[in-house]
């Protein structure tokens, strides 16, 4: 068995290999395999898996790639994420991908789907719309049609058909994946020092670029070792991070928050990995319907989904209480309309519940963390002082 240190080392390499060598190698082993790149926030990877494909999260270039041509495609007041993705598209990093899915997260990602279409990148460039109507006979049917479209895109490439059993099996594997992740979060809630936020991040992000079976094995090994004590408890406060669901902060920022005395006990980094709360029925005659039902009824809260009847503010407060957190750090990408437009209402909900909060903005390639570290440090001190 590999140690947690070995696993996190491996994961940090996998997570930030912007050439996606592991996924490409996986594809090269069988001519019917397909690689489908998808953007944040959420995409139901089960359907790709069931069709002999690997859904690979393309979450930006972070601070790992110099943007040479990508900047020429975007005005200064547009977030950083799509520049890195354009850069990857132009420098050949995405060449072996068969197709791309652009979930309905925001107008930037939506329009990026059109840029990929114009550039003819991949065999398909699918904008994947989430329904904003949650009636199963209205939004449910719409969502199922969206799933069908992606499956048809893949079918055209590898002529594979997903049987009921294939789909049930894929749903089962991703159920296990989410359960294992949730167990890690549960352990970290009680013993946050056993696995740092950064280690957790590496492990989760690697799961976005490798087959789920392999990720599940890794998660099991990690969980097994987390049963035992690891690391030293510190006098830190416990925080929830909110607003980082799409453009990912540089790892230096995550590290800085922890070093400033804040255990991150929940977050919306890589939110797609735990979008569905609980299991999806994996023993059914109609697995796609099960996925639809889960989307309509078991989705987490997010800036890209209309929050009618179930406001995000209340759900954030519930999350803070459930995780027994001391405060919230609102940390959003600069120029991220969805995150930043949600922020005032979320802050108001925190204020009403007496939950302290701070906020800052970042770019995925931010290199200076001094100010953020100081801010987080002051936040931590003030909570400790007034607790």
């Amino acid at each position: 068995m590999e140690t947690i240190n070995e696993i996190t080392d491996k994961c940090s390499n996998l997570a930030f290999d912007l050439n996606f060598r592991y996924a490409k190698h996986w594809k090269s082993k069988n001519e019917y395999r397909v690689l489908v790149g998808y953007l944040p926030i959420y995409f139901p990877r089960e359907i790709v898996h069931a069709m002999n494909g690997l859904a690979v999260g393309i979450f930006g270039a972070g601070d790992r790639k110099q943007i040479i041509r990508g900047d020429a495609y975007y005005q200064s007041y547009i977030c950083h994420l799509p520049r890195g993705i354009i850069e990857m598209g132009l420098d050949g990093s995405l060449n072996e991908f068969d197709g791309f899915v652009f979930p309905a997260t925001c107008d930037c990602i939506r329009n990026l789907s059109g840029m990929f279409k114009l550039a003819g990148k991949g065999n398909f460039q699918r904008y994947f719309d989430y329904p904003q109507n949650f009636n199963s006979k209205v939004g449910g049917i719409f969502y199922r049609q969206e799933l069908d479209k992606v499956m048809e895109d893949i079918r055209k490439i590898n002529r594979q058909h997903a049987s009921i059993e294939d789909l049930n099996n894929s749903i089962r594997l991703f159920n296990i994946n989410r359960r294992l992740i949730e167990e890690i979060y549960a352990i970290r809630q009680e013993f946050p020092w056993r696995l740092s936020a950064l280690e957790t991040y590496y492990i989760l992000r690697a799961g976005m670029v490798i087959p789920v079976e392999e990720h599940n094995e890794m998660l099991e090994q990690v969980l097994d070792q987390l049963q035992k004590e690891r690391g030293e408890p510190m006098d830190n406060i416990r925080v929830v991070i909110n607003g980082s669901f799409c453009e990912q902060p540089p790892v230096g920022l995550i590290k800085s928050i922890e070093m400033a005395g804040c255990y991150i006990v929940d977050d919306d980094l890589l939110l797609g990995s735990r979008w569905t709360i609980g299991d999806i029925d994996d023993n059914t005659d109609d697995p796609l319907e099960a996925m639809v039902t889960a989307f309509l009824n078991q989705s987490t809260f997010s800036s890209s989904v209309y929050d009618v009847g179930n406001p995000k503010g209340a759900r954030l407060v519930e999350q803070v209480h459930r995780r027994n957190a001391d405060g919230v750090i609102f940390s959003a990408a600069s120029f991220c309309d969805p995150a930043l437009l949600d922020r005032p209402e979320l802050q108001k909900a925190c204020d009403a519940a007496g939950i302290p909060h701070i906020n800052f903005q970042y770019h995925e390639n931010t290199g200076q963390f001094k100010v953020i570290k100081e801010q987080a440090g002051t936040f931590s001190d003030s909570i400790k002082l007034w607790a």
Binding site: D107, N111, G114, D129, L341
Partner: protein
């Protein structure tokens, strides 16, 4: 700077002014008169449906735009930023929130009525959704109806998408309208309104396409925003709108007959030197100054994408009295920002060709990702396909901090020089070819 000139007023302008005055009076007395008020958005609106229930629509973007023109937006935006809105986000939203924080005073100086229904017709822009989530919190007891418009991601409208939208209308939007208005849905009345919609749409297309004529009798961007006003907002489906567009079309025909150029606030444009296609919304805070830069250079905007945000009627769509709900669905999905990028490029390239434009210009709006994300690629595509000179300026809709007059003027001057040189070269090439 010299004093602004007295603007020329044509009859259609007076009709429109009266229509608006009447609407705002109706809005300010709505509560006393028992009229119900629906807040909704311009792109993909279902105005005929609202009017068929005798309710009055209010469009928050129009309030923001008016606030920009009345120089109120800067302080409204500041107030929204004070309560936590980031400097980075759409200024229309902030301006509207700021206006509400300051008593919700409308363009006539009277308080806007509070909504009885929030109708989120969510077309072509995610920010609308966020905007409405904020409005919901401001008006917690007001019912909300959501009308989700699928994006034309495949470059076409499918039967499944139409069915999805019609179902949303039937199961959510119409029942809520019935509840709020206390009236039954009347499909016949709706159909009758659509007869008027289609008539007005025909006339608007004629007006906008008159710019294919050389010299163009209209400016299809700066003046265009006035032409689209009634049909994109509260008047589509009404007799008044038909009357307005009939008059406008008569005036435009007369201008064409006389070979006249567009009317501008500085007077009539006497010599058309450059013909341009413009992509992106205008700036409202310095609208007249902005327009004047083009006027001074003899530039006419012959086609623009902004005048298509409430419907690309020139591609043939008309509201259909035979299938009212289906046609509302198609209308919502057909609005400009709901087109995918390749469709946008094709449309703009066709405009450049069909309207015999000398150049293609983008006014990139800091606030608006829906328009702006991808514009630089659109620009490259147009340049590569057509070889016309492309220009790029940046401003904002209603935040005066992002309108730099000197900067924009400099950039435009260089751009017009480039157009001038190209004209000279083209003329030389033509004369050489003839010789």
């Amino acid at each position: 700077m010299s004093n602004p000139k007295e603007a020329i007023k044509e009859k259609s302008m007076i009709i429109q002014k009266d229509m608006l005055a009447k609407l705002f009076t109706e809005l300010s007395t709505a509560k006393e008169n028992g009229k119900k008020v629906v807040y909704t958005f311009v792109p993909g609106n279902v105005t005929e449906l609202i009017l068929s229930f005798d309710m009055l629509p209010v469009y928050p973007e129009i309030n923001a735009l008016q606030s920009g023109m009345r120089k109120k937006s800067a302080s409204y935006i500041r107030d929204a930023e004070k309560i936590g809105f980031s400097e980075d986000v759409c200024t229309y939203v902030k301006c509207d929130i700021g206006m509400m924080l300051n008593g919700n005073i409308g363009p006539t100086g009277e308080k806007m009525p509070e909504p009885d229904l929030l109708l989120l017709s969510y077309t072509g822009c995610f920010t609308f959704m966020k905007w409405f989530e904020n409005l919901e919190k401001l008006y917690p007891n007001v019912p909300v109806a959501m009308l989700h418009t699928p994006y034309q991601e495949d470059g076409k409208i499918t039967e499944d998408q139409i069915t999805y939208m019609v179902k949303q209308m039937e199961t959510d939007v119409i029942p809520k309208m019935e509840m709020v208005s206390g009236k039954k849905y009347d499909p016949e009345r709706l159909s009758k309104m659509m007869v008027n919609s289609a008539k007005a749409e025909d006339l608007l297309v004629k007006v906008l396409e008159s710019a294919k004529h050389v010299p163009s009798p209209i400016d299809a961007y700066f003046a265009g925003v006035y032409y689209i006003g009634p049909i994109f907002t509260a008047f589509r489906g009404t007799e008044e709108a038909v009357e307005y567009y009939t008059e406008l079309w008569n005036e435009v025909q007369e201008r064409m007959r006389l070979g006249l150029g567009p009317i501008t606030p500085e007077g009539e444009l006497r010599e058309e030197k450059f013909r341009l296609v413009v992509e992106g919304p205008p700036n409202w805070t310095n609208f007249r100054e902005f327009w004047k830069i083009f006027y001074d250079m003899g530039a006419v905007i012959v086609a623009s994408s902004y005048t298509k945000v409430g419907g690309v009627y020139d591609l043939g769509f008309r509201h259909d009295p035979e299938h009212p709900l289906e046609s509302l669905a198609k209308y919502c999905m057909g609005c400009y920002t709901n087109l995918n990028l390749p469709q946008r490029v094709n449309l703009l390239a066709d405009y450049v060709t069909e309207y015999k434009a000398d150049g293609f210009l983008i006014n990139s709006i800091k606030s608006c990702n829906s328009f702006s994300a991808g514009q630089l690629m659109i620009m490259r595509e147009i340049e590569q396909r057509l070889g016309v000179p492309v220009g790029f300026i940046e401003s904002d809709l209603v935040d005066p901090r992002y309108f730099s007059y000197a900067n924009i003027k400099n950039r435009l001057e260089s751009y017009f020089q480039m157009l001038e040189q190209r004209k000279i070269i083209l003329a030389q090439e033509t004369s050489e070819a003839i010789a």
